[in-house]
Point group: C2
């Protein structure tokens, strides 16, 4: 069983209200020196077999159609990850 990590971020020109809210809250909680926060999504996808190039290409296609909205988001990473240790 392999694992693939997909990361999606709002495009730079798109307003990001979640990130803005976090950015506004940080100084109130005593964290200073931060100029911008952008919030996106991270998916951990467990696949049945090995993570082959074909599987990665499939997941990239899924990332660009189902996991992200290409109008407002960029897929910034599609990468195989060593599987977590499991019993």
């Amino acid at each position: 069983m392999g694992r693939v990590v997909v990361e999606v971020m709002p495009k730079p020109e798109i307003l990001d209200p979640q990130g803005k809210a976090v950015n506004g809250a940080l100084p109130r909680l005593g964290f200073t020196g931060i100029s911008q926060v952008r919030q996106g999504k991270r998916f951990e996808i467990t696949v049945d077999g090995e993570v082959t190039d074909e599987v990665l290409a499939d997941i990239r296609r899924a990332a660009e159609t189902l996991l992200s909205n290409p109008v407002i988001e960029d897929v910034v990473k599609v990468e195989a990850e060593p599987a977590a240790v499991s019993a």
Copy 2:
């Protein structure tokens, strides 16, 4: 200006309805061989100065208090990233 990436995932024992929804949608869209999807969050935090160890420690503290809910989420990554090329 430096950039720090923070990644937060739901704890393994916590139900993840977003991930489950994605997992259910994938086969309907023709993507097979995927056994699990977990959805978490990715933050890109731009800091005013250099990313020092102190800044990283500060952001780790923010990640564990503001950016994640420690009851149901784990902070899986707090890492400096090369700044994006900007004009």
